[in-house]
Symmetry: C2
Amino acid sequence: MAKIISDDVKLLGAWPSVFVMRPRIALNIKSVDYEFLEETLGCKSQLLLQSNSVHKKVPVLIHAGKPICESLIIVQYIDEVWSSEPSILPSDPHDRAIARFWASYVDDKWFPSLRLVIGAEGERTAALIDQVTEGLVLLEEAFCNKKAAFFGGDHIGFLDIALGSMLGWLRVTENMVGVKLLDEAKTPWLVQWAENFCADAAVKGPMPQTEKLVEFAKGLLTRMRGS
Amino acid sequence: MAKIISDDVKLLGAWPSVFVMRPRIALNIKSVDYEFLEETLGCKSQLLLQSNSVHKKVPVLIHAGKPICESLIIVQYIDEVWSSEPSILPSDPHDRAIARFWASYVDDKWFPSLRLVIGAEGERTAALIDQVTEGLVLLEEAFCNKKAAFFGGDHIGFLDIALGSMLGWLRVTENMVGVKLLDEAKTPWLVQWAENFCADAAVKGPMPQTEKLVEFAKGLLTRMRGS
């Protein structure tokens, strides 16, 4: 597909953020060219503070001078503005509701457990790991019967982006805690899905290398424990 | 508008729930007839447990035998399935993103403070009240310049439903704590908006009487403090 060249699309972000990865993947899927403005950790730019005065957080998409905030809201915006195929949300209302439901589950229930695993200790670690694997099993059970390559069918869709953006941190967690979270025995469909997702051309650029992300996570952990 | 008669639309809910009020208002806006299946507090029906096995919470819309969960996802589903006017989401992608942004702000940031005010004590109460009024001022500032009757313009839209469904509990909180949260001096536009919202035909049925809700809230508080 030909690139849509626009000097009017900017994305405020940070490379290690799962939430920033979402609009980056969506823009890649739609072949929209954009300027990536990297924020420095611990130092928010004036543009970020102005563009997201409520939450002061990345990602912020600035399109034609207007800011849009919150990763999944940005992904839906991208799908609606650049509405040519491939579409990110399914066309059927029920399928859309299901994709939104699980994306919301991933954000509100599943990821809050995953992000705490690395910093946890003792029994708390085990309990969090259980919650993470239970969530993955729920997703496996809900989608494995469809026998599709992606949650979105034969191409990456809304829930693929929502969960897939977290695969980097999942691997970092596996690496740092020494545990297998995405397990062939428990979630064979998801293991294959993760492989499909990471191999996709729209994902390869934004998805950070695990080693680089592990280094970043170690630095973050040292900071947190030092404070 | 003629009622859309369908024996295929059921809503599992509970009358005091702000989240259940949302799909009820949306179905009224679309003139869709539905069967309201009231859940008993503290005793979840088999149908609820089957239909929302992940969260086990109301509201659940069951349309043509298929369950849809999570209040704002249900509202979007209703808008997409019964797509005739009036539409609930704005048609412009940027306006849609703004409506979704503030609806998410209301759910994730504002309501968590409001719902804790009644049960709080001392300085904590004052801090929560400050958070609630700050949130209302943010909303006032973001929308008062539009000089419209509703967030959605000249008719009730997505953000109206998201925030408006909480007006009953806002009044209960004002009544039980003896504080004015929606204040003519600080948020004149919102005061008028709340009046417009509650006077709307789609809202009158689902919106509980403040006295009845106060009784319910007192019972809930006694239970919570007793446990």
